[in-house]
């Protein structure tokens, strides 16, 4: 356990050295937030009040929380593992006395811990100034929101990790990566809340783990759901977490048997 804690800490330090990147990311996420907020608010104004259960203020809060959590939750993913399979460095990873999945997971949590303030706070400040935010006044949503964020970081990590692990079988994961990104962006509620979708697409989205990766923590944090409902949503997240964990473990097990590392 100690080793994973240290890995997480060193990953935190590693990401804290790229400060310009954090500033740039926060800037871009704020600009996108302005664009997204204006589009959603314009539609809500035309519709006369609310769409998909979101009033103007709630939709604005949804956008800004989403933009703030985008980077910490790890919605961009990283292809480090696939690169290491390609270069053969994966042999070093596999010979370490730590679990492959857990060591990368710990590092991703360290990254998320750093990203949350420098990349998360600026969009929220911009949002509070431009449209205002409707945040709950009780501690409950924040506590449960924290758990939900942890679950969502882990879900995003495992999702991308599974795509990375495909590199044990195929030479080039780019096609799978893109397919995953496209589906995840759409179905996680990152672009518009999934409740805005037409019925058939909403049903499809709810049958996937993607809404648990972004929309769930955002809705819980914004206090849109009451205690019981929020708990149920976190339950769904944990269920998906278990499913993805099994998938990833099976992939590691069978994939590493297939792996051929040249030389080294």
């Amino acid at each position: 356990m100690r080793a994973y804690w240290e890995l997480g800490k060193s990953s935190f330090r590693r990401h804290s050295t790229y400060r310009t990147a954090a500033v740039a990311g926060a800037f871009t996420n704020s600009v996108f937030g302005l664009i997204r907020a204006s589009l959603l608010l314009s539609a809500i104004t035309t519709a006369g009040g609310a769409i998909g259960g979101y009033s103007a203020m709630e939709a604005a809060t949804y956008v800004w929380l989403g933009q703030a959590l985008l980077a910490p939750l790890g919605l961009f993913g990283n292809a480090e593992l696939a690169g290491r399979v390609k270069s053969g460095d994966i042999a070093v990873d596999l010979s370490r006395s730590v679990n492959l999945t857990a060591s990368y997971w710990a590092q991703d949590l360290g990254r998320a811990a750093f990203d949350v303030l420098p990349r998360g706070l600026p969009p929220l400040i911009v949002g509070a100034l431009v449209t205002g935010l409707a945040m709950p006044g009780t501690p409950g949503p924040y506590l449960l929101g924290f758990v939900s964020i942890l679950a969502a970081v882990s879900l995003n990590f495992l999702g991308f990790f599974a795509i990375n692990l495909l590199s044990f079988w195929v030479l080039e994961i780019r096609g799978f990566w893109m397919l995953y990104m496209v589906l995840m962006n759409l179905l996680s509620g990152f672009l518009v809340p999934v409740t805005w979708f037409p019925g058939w697409l909403l049903d499809f989205a709810r049958a996937t783990p993607f809404p648990s990766m972004l929309q769930t923590p955002v809705d819980i944090l914004a206090g849109r759901t009451d205690g019981v409902e929020s708990l149920a949503m976190v339950g769904v997240q944990l269920l998906w977490l278990a499913v993805l964990l099994v998938v990833v473990q099976v992939m590691v097990r069978f994939g590493s048997r297939r792996l051929v590392v040249q030389g080294g």
């Binding site: 310009t20 500033v23 871009t28 996108f32 302005l34 314009s42 080039e172 893109m178 397919l179 672009l191």
Partner: protein, 292 residues
């Protein structure tokens, strides 16, 4: 020196193949461009399965971009003063422009990677403009998938909207995707140039390149007023598709994007391209190698 010899061998090879009548024709950048691009294309087509799945992925990407717009529009009768078919026209024009720009210069988006890995030095020592090499180094035919979807969306929009065509509108409809492509090329160029100064700041540029794409494909009237002004007169994203669509559809624009701006696409493309080329030159001059 190796370079003149390499050039002359290229000349002779071409002379024996397609231009046998003119063995001493100078090897222009255009000839080299054709040679480089066709070599790239052949190599990409070599792996059929992988190529077609990539193209399909790009089509899917375009499709989800449309679903993103549809997910908003299907909830309301008009979005930013436009019907679904009219927003499809904006989306189609913007997508064609972006797909072309991305195909040509999308590579400069990852300039910081090229600089950091030392690849730029390799490009600099070759006797060809760096920009030309960048445009061909990763000429991804799979990005054509995006263009195919964009053209289909545009065609559908033209069928579904009721346009009273006249010569001026026809001219505008032809100029618009090309001017839009030039605007995106210029934005990508600026994004690449910027990364010479801010190596870790790739995401800064994304606000203008991908942010520009996002704005361009949406009805501009749905944006906050200051955003309208910024993305029309500073970063001319709404001039790519929305403003010309106002003219074609005979609609009134919002306060920040009056309908007359529909004709500003081409001039904006020329001015922006000029400025960004200057910036690019300054960036290349500024570049200091790390002794690679």
């Amino acid at each position: 020196m190796a370079s003149p010899r390499a050039t002359s061998s290229l000349t002779s090879r071409r002379a024996t193949s397609s231009r046998a009548g003119d063995p001493h024709a100078p090897v222009t950048n255009f000839v080299l461009l054709k040679l480089l691009v066709s070599a790239r294309l052949r190599s990409q087509l070599a792996y059929r399965g992988s190529f077609f799945s990539d193209v399909a992925g790009q089509v899917l990407l375009g499709l989800t971009e449309f679903v993103e717009l549809y997910a908003i529009v299907h909830n309301v009768s008009t979005f930013g003063g436009m019907t679904l078919a009219q927003t499809l026209l904006v989306f189609g024009l913007a997508s064609v422009a972006f797909a072309l720009g991305d195909l040509l210069l999308g590579e400069t988006d990852s300039m910081s990677e090229t600089i950091r890995s030392g690849k730029l030095e390799v490009l600099l020592v070759r006797p060809l403009p760096v920009l030309l090499q960048l445009a061909t180094s990763d000429f991804q035919l799979r990005r054509v998938g995006r263009l195919i979807f964009a053209l289909a969306a545009l065609a559908a929009a033209l069928l579904l909207t009721d346009v009273h065509w006249d010569p001026a509108k026809i001219a505008l409809a032809i100029i618009t995707p090309l001017a839009g492509a030039a605007i995106f090329c210029a934005l990508f160029l600026g994004a690449g140039a910027m990364q010479f100064w801010i190596l870790d700041g790739r995401q800064f540029a994304n606000a203008f390149t991908y942010g520009g794409r996002y704005v361009a494909s949406m009805p501009g009237a749905a944006l906050f007023f200051p955003i309208q002004i910024f993305f029309t007169f500073v970063i001319p994203a709404t001039l790519v598709a929305y403003a010309p669509s106002l003219v074609i559809l005979e609609l009134d624009g919002p306060a920040g994007i009056p309908a007359w701006t529909g004709w500003l696409g081409l001039p904006a493309a020329v001015v922006l391209s000029g400025l960004m080329l200057l910036l690019w030159r300054a960036a290349i001059k500024k570049y200091t190698g790390a002794g690679g």
